[in-house]
């Protein structure tokens, strides 16, 4: 029992709790509760003023009842009264009640805020603590309005006790999260950063949490925290186990603080100052080294704390993405964890490797572990670990291993958990399309998908396969043949009937020569599935039948008989009936020429971004790597001449030489003033006024970047410009590459980037004096930390070349 004997142990409460526990049924419990509620109600309304102890006891009982899951609609006033008591536990219970049962009555709020104000001003650290805790627990807008100005002062005041400083920091953090606009930006920012140097590690921990969140919105203001954080981290990591005393956790020095400092550092790009950067690298290397040392304790807490720091360090290494040595070491360390005894570590290793796989430095290193990952996929008993393995396979997939990975994912799909099948289907579809060298493989893969997990194959997937088959002549015959064979299986999924119906309708003629797949056979095959299908599928099949009438006159009468039957012409569904009637008429009335024209082969679909990718992103939710919307405009480069001065303002007229490159009609930009000094273009905005229109071909490319991070931005006979962006949570960066397609060197090639102000600061040098012939040069353009995970579209960038 408790170390301190508590005279305030409320016996009445203990008895009540026992009673509830002894209730044999839900009804008995409710009865007992109602009895108590009535009792409390009468006591509160009673003539005799209740003493503090009783009030506390009853408020506590109400709290208990509420936490059991019942609604409480009174007691708030009494709880608020307790706040002004001087007895500590009474105050404490009062605060607990109002933080759990938040009430929006404005009179009560006023009283509560008043009590808090008094406690904050009391300079009694225990009472201040209670008040700060309450604000942090409730964090309502009203409290933010009342106290957001006060708390920073408490935080940076010299005479505030350490415990109050800790609470104040986290309190401010909570208020900032709920009402960011109410927290004043002030000169306290630098003082908060200074707290990182505090003696008391608890204060440092709280301050680090606060700065991490604030820095995401205002990185400039808190930039000085980087070097302080690095030195602090370095001191912790190299300290002996006795240095930090009570902040050492199972032989790991200050693990929570280390993790927080590493998180803070992930808000910023790698430090520019070489001394700071060197120190940080040393620090990270030390952490990686420690992972290889034998453990100081057998306890799982020791290894968890040590590995927590290690994983966060690896996150930082991945985020910086600048030290190949560290990246490879991180990859190897994760590789070791992939086969660790502990499931938790295997899970986390798979998760971390996913992010590593997207970095150019370590992508190859990640691929070396493919066999381990595949084994994990097959043998792991925990479904969440298997899911991570699937994610990793998806991330590490590229041209060299696509076939192997898709095959593995397909075989996994056969036994996969139902909840994750749709995601796997989407991923397989994306990979198959992206890395298909031979499109027959792609068609096979999709048909396999339908066979294995037909229910989870969404429309986007099978629309896509049809689009691709139609667009590619070389695979049409194969598709027709394969689909025909698959349809012969006794039980085939409805999606297969849809795909098969469509493809045979378009390309059935390619296999009609073979007697095993003659027109009549094809028709009978499809029609045998007809009655098993849902309405939309039947509608599709009817369209196929009329296409058959056009392709194969010999089956015309058979089909007409089918169309003529009552089940079609008088079908309950309006769509089917209409189709049957109209198709029948069409087949009877139209001449062969007209029929052929009407039912001509589908023209190729215009190239557009796969909707599957968009669907996958939507499915994964906002937490994943999202491509932000970017608007880009560009003009042709001026080649082979002296550099034309790049127009500095957004609404410049195109230089005369631009026209010579045949970009099409580029009318002079109108004279309207540019919006706040930049070419702010939102993909979906309708304001073309300040901007010159795009060159014709680039419209598509431009829209492509809504969903894709990489691709060609502009191309003509002389130059190809491509864009590659990487995003991770709130940070992003862009690379632009320029490819010289001619056989002469570009001299004085100076691309200029025009973009909005706040991006401008992050533009790295983009001049490249000479672009050699037939070569391609990468330039890292910008790194930027964005607002929050749920980022808003950021202003567009424009590319203008001199």
């Amino acid at each position: 029992m408790p170390a301190v004997s508590k005279g305030d142990g409320m016996r009445g409460l203990a008895v009540f709790i026992s009673d509830i526990r002894n209730c044999k049924s839900k009804e008995a419990e409710i009865k007992r509760i109602n009895k108590e509620l009535a009792n409390i109600r009468s006591k509160f309304k009673g003539d005799k003023a209740l003493d503090g102890y009783s009030k506390k006891k009853y408020v506590c009982k109400l709290l208990f009842i509420f936490l059991l899951g019942h609604d409480i609609d009174f007691g708030h006033m009494e709880a608020v009264n307790l706040l002004s008591s001087n007895r500590y536990t009474e105050k404490q219970i009062g605060y607990l009640f109002i933080s759990v049962l938040v009430n929006s009555n404005s009179e009560l709020i006023r009283l509560i805020n008043n009590a808090i104000k008094n406690d904050l001003a009391s300079r009694n650290p225990t009472f201040m603590g209670l008040a700060l805790h309450c604000i942090a627990n409730v964090g309502s807008r009203e409290m933010a309005e009342a106290f957001a100005g006060e708390i920073p002062k408490i935080l940076v005041a010299g005479d505030t006790m350490d415990s109050a400083k800790q609470s104040a920091a986290l309190c401010l953090l909570r208020l900032y999260r709920t009402s960011p606009h109410l927290v004043p930006t002030g000169d306290w920012a630098s003082r908060v950063v200074h707290l990182l140097n505090d003696q008391h590690l608890g204060v440092v921990t709280a301050a680090t949490s606060l700065i991490t969140t604030l820095a995401q919105k205002n990185p400039e203001e808190f930039k000085t925290s980087v070097s302080l954080a690095v030195s602090r981290l370095s001191r912790i990591v190299t300290s002996a186990s006795t240095d930090l005393q009570d902040y050492t956790y199972y032989f790991v020095p200050a693990p929570w603080l280390s993790v927080k400092l590493l998180r803070l550092l992930q808000c910023y790009p790698p430090p520019e100052d070489p001394a700071v950067r060197g120190r940080l690298t040393e620090c990270l290397e030390t952490i990686l080294n420690k992972a290889q040392e034998p453990p100081k304790s057998k306890k799982v807490q020791h290894s968890n704390a040590k590995n927590a720091v290690l994983f966060e360090a690896i996150s930082l290494i991945i985020h910086h993405d600048s030290e190949p040595n560290l990246l490879v070491r991180a990859c190897n360390q994760l590789g070791q964890f992939l086969q660790h005894r502990e499931t938790n570590l295997r899970y986390l290793a798979l998760e971390s490797m996913c992010t590593l796989a997207s970095s150019e430095f370590s992508h190859e290193a990640v691929k070396t572990h493919i066999e381990t990952v595949i084994t994990a996929l097959k043998t792991e008993r925990d479904v969440s670990v298997r899911q991570r393995a699937v994610d990793l396979l998806y991330a590490m997939c590229d041209r060299s291993n696509a076939q192997q990975i898709v095959a593995e994912m397909l075989s996994y799909l056969e036994t996969a958990d139902y909840s994750i099948r749709e995601e796997i289907v989407l991923k397989v579809a994306i990979l198959a399309e992206k890395y298909a060298v031979d499109y027959t493989w792609y068609v096979d893969t999709i048909l396999n998908l339908i066979r294995i997990a037909g229910d989870y194959v969404s429309e986007e997937v099978w629309y896509r396969v049809i689009q691709i088959v139609i667009n590619r002549d070389d695979v049409q015959g194969y598709a027709a043949k394969t689909v025909f064979e698959s349809l012969q299986a006794p039980a085939c999924h409805e999606n297969l009937v849809k795909v098969g119906g469509y493809i045979l309708g378009e390309f059935g003629n390619l296999i009609a020569g073979d007697p095993r797949s003659s027109p009549l056979v094809q028709f009978n095959l499809l029609h045998s599935k007809f009655h098993l299908c849902s309405v939309p599928t039947r509608a599709l099949l009817l369209s196929t039948y009329i296409k058959f009438v056009n392709l194969f006159p010999e089956v015309k009468s058979t089909i007409q008989d089918v169309l003529r039957s009552d089940s079609q012409l008088r079908n309950a569904d309006a769509e089917l009936q209409q189709r049957a009637v109209e198709y029948l008429r069409l087949s009877t009335v139209a001449s062969t020429d007209i029929l052929a024209t009407v039912l001509e082969e589908m023209p190729p679909f215009p190239e557009r971004e796969s909707s599957i990718l968009a669907k996958l992103k939507k499915k994964k939710g906002p937490g994943t790597v999202m491509g932000l919307e970017e608007g880009k405009r560009e003009r042709g480069p001026d080649v082979n001449g002296g550099p034309e001065p790049a127009p500095a303002s957004a609404t410049s007229t195109p230089s005369p030489s631009a026209d010579l490159l045949g970009l099409g009609a580029v009318p002079p930009a109108p004279a309207g003033p540019p919006p706040s000094g930049g070419l702010l273009v939102d993909v979906f905005s309708d304001s073309p006024s300040a901007v010159a229109p795009l060159a014709p071909g680039s419209e598509d490319n431009f829209a492509r970047f809504v969903c894709k991070n990489n691709g060609v931005l502009f191309e003509n006979q002389l130059l190809q410009i491509g864009l590659k962006s990487e995003f991770r949570q709130n940070l992003g960066r862009m690379f632009i590459f320029y490819g010289n397609k001619t056989s002469t060197q570009f001299l004085n090639f100076t691309p200029t980037l025009i973009c909005s102000d706040d991006l401008q600061a992050n533009i790295l040098g983009s001049a490249c004096p000479a672009l050699p012939a037939a070569q391609c040069v990468w330039r890292r353009v910008a790194s930027k930390a964005f607002n929050s995970r749920r980022s808003k579209p950021f202003p567009g960038a424009a590319l203008v070349s001199a």
């Binding site: 408790p2 305030d8 001087n86 500590y88 607990l96 909570r174 956790y249 927080k260 938790n344």
Partner: protein
Amino acid sequence: MQFMLLFSRQGKLRLQKWYVPLSDKEKKKITRELVQTVLARKPKMCSFLEWRDLKIVYKRYASLYFCCAIEDQDNELITLEIIHRYVELLDKYFGSVCELDIIFNFEKAYFILDEFLLGGEVQETSKKNVLKAIEQADLLQEFQEVLGVPRNPSPDSLSHVMNILMSQCTK
């Protein structure tokens, strides 16, 4: 951290701490679903799972499940140790804590949690300091009772007494 739930093997909620504003209805729904999901896990499975767009870290101590919901970028292993540290604190305070302690002294469990975590972030990682803060508060209450400190003070007289008490506590 977005929230922390403690529940028994029968699914009875023993403690619920919410660090994000949610309506009561939403809280109940989340609790119900999450408790079901976690209780369905087998013993050897890993301590992390993805649920909606959050990461769930959970660990079982005797008859109680400790379950935390963290955001995508938070560190899972350190959250496991947050749970462990909280259990250690409870253990030290109650002396070999068991589920009954938390049931009958639920308000103390909340107070201890508040000293350790605030607003979803770790506040104080020194076990000694957290326990000291709780003990100070208990001691303060005892003194107040013993000395018969008035409940509704007039500002001047009591602050004097309070200061004496506080200075005695911090020795």
